[in-house]
């Protein structure tokens, strides 16, 4: 809900105790809270790592090159996000919109890959029901995917609204873009952790397997 306030009207110049804008501070506090959210999900994955009693096991289903490509997409989307904010801060709304849309498209590409990966896993017999690996994997990456989806919607909404109300993307109101940027970078960083913990540091295959 907190991101909702970011889309709209011209923020009035307000005096604050810290000098930080209220919405920016809210975003930081929200992200701190989201750290604990993902922290708990990652902890669940780690606690149940290697505890599955039946397959499929991670080493049987993971396609590291594909996931590396997905990680690359998200990293590049952080670059386009930075470029978008820089453009808007220079007062160049047109390039701001282009880079924002590029960010959203890279996010979409990531989601398509994730959808393909999920359906591929399901055909290999890995579902949330079948074992703990499936349950923890789909929950963790699924919630991350939901965050990316929300980010794509938010990016698109910022662009659409800026077409209807150009003032929302003036250099003075660059905070509208900065906030979605903070969120987007955070979601990217979470992916770096998930990629490392889930995909790269796989547990040893079970001996009897």
């Amino acid at each position: 809900m907190q991101q909702a306030g970011a889309l709209g009207h011209t923020p009035e110049v307000e005096h604050t105790t810290t000098g930080l804008n209220h919405r920016k501070l809210l975003m930081w506090v929200f992200l701190a809270s989201d750290c604990l959210f993902f922290g708990t999900l990652i902890a669940t994955y780690l606690l149940y790592r290697g505890k599955s009693t039946v397959g499929p096991y991670p080493h049987e289903v993971f396609d590291i090159p594909l996931t590396s490509y997905s990680a690359f997409l998200l990293l590049m989307s952080s670059l386009t996000m930075v470029l978008a904010l820089a453009a808007v801060q220079r007062g160049n709304a047109k390039w701001g919109r282009i880079w924002l849309l590029a960010t959203a498209l890279l996010g979409c590409h990531f989601l398509v890959n994730q959808g393909w990966e999920f359906s591929h896993f399901v055909t290999e017999g890995l579902t949330p029901r079948v074992n703990l690996f499936g349950a923890t994997f789909f929950t963790l990456t699924g919630f991350h995917g939901a965050h990316v989806t929300l980010g794509v919607f938010w990016l698109t909404a910022v662009v659409v609204i800026s077409l209807l109300r150009p003032a929302t993307m003036s250099a003075k109101n660059s905070l509208n873009v900065e906030l979605v940027g903070l969120y987007w970078h955070f979601v990217d960083i979470v992916w770096i952790i998930i990629f490392t913990v889930v995909y790269l540091l796989q547990p040893a295959p079970p001996l009897h397997g």
Partner: protein, 624 residues
């Protein structure tokens, strides 16, 4: 996009029911929180009376075993999530902006949203009474009791109700953190903030960090129930103890979420009625911070008998002993505040003193539980029930009543009757000790918690009867309070700006405060700014009070731009409620109808979010 904002015309009025439904004024939202929480206090109290009636004598027949479990679960869940937390939120809302010299919170519509989501979650939880029966696994909802094979649909209501309540608490905590960090009046540095503001900030920090853990824990439980995963089901390799870890990882910070606001209130009441500054202000602040951090490091003391191993138990026993230190420091500071003060024995001070005395008893039995061998004996006996009622009722509820008596005049403009208030206090104190004191004896005598009946040969009948008698005495004290409340609303003594000759900024403005609170934002030069101001003026009667005159001028704040009322918070809250309802339909009917309801709710929520974000915070002329 502009169409969306035109669908609902911007409400403008402050009067009538719609004025309350669309309000974004922190004082009104505080009143909504307070009244709703008090209604649930009565509901939870009636549930407690049912439990006590059942246990009054051996082989009780008032409730069946199943009904006992349900009522016990709802009593605990209600008192914690629907009473103490929202009642504290009521004080955050009413008092915090006034204390820091602000005109509202940082996000007034988010604040209204928090309240409406709270109401939605509370109603969702209570809908279980109508559909399939309330939850019955205790307020802690231990796995496996909550897994599908062992429970009814009540658990779905419990999980989704608490998830919705979590959204409300987190939204409110975000809001108050930003408000306190960012909206203090000029000159109010951190170390000049009133203690209640400090405790609210620490509480909000705990909420923001602890609730996500519960959110994830309950999400996994929901997946177990809805999608057949095995997070907590040993059949598929899952571990029920993981639920305990997550629940208490949230649950122990939650304990401090429940007590810190009451500690803040008491830290305001004691100096006012001792006519002395709080003794050792800095130390009280620091111990609050230490409690906030240590509160995160003690959760496994709820699990000493689970079998986590001697090392784990030793570590958590040590941290638990440690947390007694900052708590004890606070108690000594409160007592030292009273020492040598010109004590005014008014009703708020009675409740604050009751808080200190009862909290010491509850704190001492808490330290006993920190010792693993002692805890192993006490685990799951009435001794534990005695302990947490001494800290949550004797602590939180007494502290919150101190706040009600203290700030009632600020909110309503009239004082609660002092004599009736003292009668309320004595009845409640006596009833409380008769109810929960004997639980210590019964617990040591071996009476287990959560049993719905006991045979006569156990020899527990006498103290149980005394407890039931005490519980009805507490009920009687509530009737006295309600009488006082309604009587004082109509014919209470006019309060004026500053009936207690108090110390903080909220007393510098009229009671009830004008919608804009401060005509001019005060500048703060010291820790007790209003007291300091009055000290300067002793002898020289100057009418100006914190920038606004003693008599409220109707049109004084005309140039002040306040946020306008808004429909959108309640629309989004409604959408969220319907979404959660959709998951309930999914759980008990089928996927398709559940999906339709969830998507419908999602659509309402999305429309609400867009309407909200496209609507300017205040419908000023510059926005057309």
């Amino acid at each position: 996009m502009a169409m969306i904002t035109d669908v609902l015309r911007r409400p403008t009025g402050y009067s009538g029911v719609w004025g309350w439904v669309t309000t974004v004024d922190h004082k009104r939202i505080g009143v909504l929180y307070g009244v709703t929480a008090f209604i649930f206090f009565l509901v939870g109290g009636i549930e407690a009376l049912l439990l006590r009636l059942q246990l009054a004598g051996p082989d009780g027949t008032v409730l069946t075993a199943a009904a006992y479990n349900q009522i016990m679960t709802m009593h605990g869940t209600t008192m914690i999530f629907l009473v103490v937390m929202p009642l504290s939120a009521a004080f955050f809302n009413v008092v915090i902006p006034l204390m820091i010299g602000a005109r509202d919170v940082a996000f007034p519509r988010l604040n209204a949203f928090s309240y409406w989501v709270f109401l939605t979650g509370a109603l969702l939880l209570h809908m279980s009474f109508l559909v399939g029966g309330p939850p019955d696994a205790g307020w802690f909802g231990y796995a496996n009791l909550t897994e599908k094979p062992f429970s009814e649909s009540g658990i779905d209501f419990w999980v989704l109700g608490l998830q919705v309540l979590g959204i409300s608490s987190m939204a409110a905590a975000f809001n108050f953190l930003v408000t306190i960090i960012n909206m203090r009046a000029p000159g109010m540095s951190l170390m000049r903030m009133p203690l209640f503001v400090w405790m609210t900030m620490i509480t909000s920090f705990l909420l923001v960090t602890a609730f996500p853990v519960l959110t994830v824990g309950m999400m996994l439980l929901l997946f177990d129930r809805l999608f057949g995963t095995h997070f907590y089901a040993p059949a598929g390799g899952g571990d029920p103890v993981l639920w305990q870890q997550y629940f208490w990882l949230f649950g122990h910070p939650e304990v401090y979420i429940l007590i810190l606001p009451a500690m803040g209130i008491v830290s305001e009441v004691l100096p006012t009625f001792s006519r002395k500054p709080l003794f050792g202000y800095r130390v009280v602040v620091y111990s609050g911070i230490v409690i906030g951090f240590l509160g995160w490091m003690v959760w496994s003391h709820h699990m000493f008998t689970v079998g986590l191993g001697a090392v784990v138990n030793a570590v958590f026993a040590s941290t638990t002993f440690l947390i007694a230190v900052p708590t004890g420091v606070k108690i000594f500071n409160w007592i030292a505040t009273l020492w040598g003060g010109a004590i005014q024995l008014k009703a708020p001070l009675y409740f604050a003193l009751g808080f200190i005395a009862m909290f010491i008893i509850g704190g001492l039995s808490g330290v006993m539980h920190a010792s693993v061998p002692v805890d192993t004996q006490h685990q799951d006996t009435y001794f534990v029930v005695a302990h947490f009622h001494y800290v949550l009722f004797g602590g939180s509820i007494f502290g919150l009543f101190a706040g009600i008596y203290y700030w009632f005049p600020k909110v309503t403009g009239r004082l609660l009757h002092d004599g009736i208030g003292k009668l309320h206090f004595w009845l409640m104190l006596l009833g409380f000790n008769l109810t929960f004191g004997p639980m210590h004896f019964l617990g040591v005598a071996g009476m287990p918690r959560r049993i719905y009946t006991y045979p006569e040969e156990m020899g527990w009948a006498f103290w149980n009867l005394v407890e039931t008698f005490g519980a009805f005495m507490i009920a009687a004290s509530m009737l006295v309070f309600l009488f006082n409340f309604f009587r004082s609303l109509r014919q209470g003594e006019e309060a004026g700006n500053d009936p207690w000759d108090a110390r903080t900024l909220e007393w510098s403005i009229p009671s009830p405060p004008p919608i804009y609170n401060f005509a001019t934002i005060p500048t703060v030069h010291s820790r007790d700014p209003w007291w300091e101001e009055k000290e300067k003026r002793r002898g020289a009667p100057v009418p100006v009070a914190g920038g606004s005159n003693g008599e409220p001028h109707q049109d004084e704040g005309h140039g002040i731009h306040m946020p306008s009322p808004s429909y959108w918070p309640i629309v989004v809250a409604l959408g969220l409620g319907v979404m959660a309802g959709g998951l309930l339909v999914f759980a008990s009917v089928n996927l398709i109808s559940g999906l339709i309801v969830t998507l419908g709710g999602g659509l309402v929520a999305i429309i609400g979010i867009f309407g909200w974000s496209l609507e300017p915070a205040s419908a000023g002329p510059e926005h057309g």
